[in-house]
Amino acid sequence: MTQIEIYLLAGAAMFCIGLYGLVVRPHLLHKVMGLNVMAVAVFLVLVSVARRVPGPTPDALPHAMVLTGIVVSVAATAYSLALIKRIYTETGAVTLQETDDDA
């Protein structure tokens, strides 16, 4: 097993774990962290893919994609956290409730 494969498998595993956090854990903050773990997993896969290039400098395109992805995920996280705080201030809830549709 090579270095790249190790990280690729780790990416696949972390993606599933993040998905678990997103789907199974009820707390909104856990869900947001789940999304972030999923993002990290995808970045791991991308950066490992970049590492295939022989020589010291890896493929720069996946790196640029990851940097873009990190910025996007920070932006989305910041917005989600603001939304969570607003929800908590308005209603005191920290989970998505079943009853919010038919108010």
Binding site: E5, T57, R86
Partner: protein, 238 residues
């Protein structure tokens, strides 16, 4: 009572874990079949690096080859801060909402670290041309400096009015956009920098982006950080 709740949840849980393990097996199979020979555009990037205006391949991809992605990415960042602000009630951008945390040691730390952070942000901005670094890294350090200033209870300088803050937030994106359309006046496509202008334009964009990103990050923190004090009164929601 707890048992009644516990049992179906445990069953759900096992099903979920089982499904995710199955997903993992599929993903693992997919990633292990990735061909290990170089199929990307790495060589193409290296070939064009000389005419990209910078020496760091990642920066070249971000700001030249795929500058369009970065332009939209900054739009996402601006959009996120607009979203955060739209979640605030009246008096958006009021940075005085954080209760200051008074402590002489923290104050001294802030006064030592903030100038250092500015210097290192500048350094990373400069280094980004040929080494790891660039606008986003520099901007996030400036943002952290702003967060530190906010947390340590230093007063926001008077000239930094909400209007100015908004302008700083938008300026990086607008400068990038202007720089992107400048080539169009010379009968070239969007973002098609003329060879001799590539480097100055990239530096111009990165510099403004640094300040914008820093301001966006710090505003994200300030605007979404809720007050701690007990006398918090709910403003009338729109």
């Amino acid at each position: 009572m707890p048992n009644n709740i516990e049992r179906p949840r445990r069953a759900q849980h096992i099903v979920a874990v089982g499904l995710l393990v199955a997903v993992f097996v599929l993903l693992a199979r997919a990633v292990l079949y990735i061909p290990m020979h170089d199929t990307g555009v790495a060589s193409s990037i290296q070939d064009n690096l000389q005419i990209s205006g910078v020496l760091n391949p990642v920066t070249a991809v971000l700001l030249n080859f795929r500058g369009y992605d970065t332009l939209l990415e900054i739009a996402v960042l601006v959009l996120a801060i607009i979203g955060v602000l739209s979640l605030q009630r009246e008096g958006m951008l009021a940075s005085g909402r954080l209760a200051p945390f008074a402590d002489p040691a923290l104050s001294l730390l802030t006064r030592i670290l903030v100038p250092m952070m500015i210097l290192i942000a500048g350094y990373l901005l400069w280094a980004g041309e040929k080494a790891p670094g660039g606008a986003f890294q520099a901007g996030s350090i400036l943002g952290a400096a702003g967060v530190l200033v906010t947390l340590s209870g230093h007063v926001r300088p008077g000239w930094l009015s909400p209007a100015i803050v908004k302008i700083i937030i938008a300026v990086g994106f607008v400068v990038f956009l202007v720089a992107a359309i400048i080539p169009m006046f010379f009968d070239k496509n969007l973002l098609e920098y003329p060879l001799h202008l590539a480097k100055p334009l990239i530096i111009l964009i990165e510099t403004w982006l640094t300040f914008s990103i820093g301001m966006i990050l710090v505003t994200m923190f300030i605007s979404s950080a809720a007050p701690i004090t007990d006398d918090y009164v709910r403003g009338d929601a729109t």
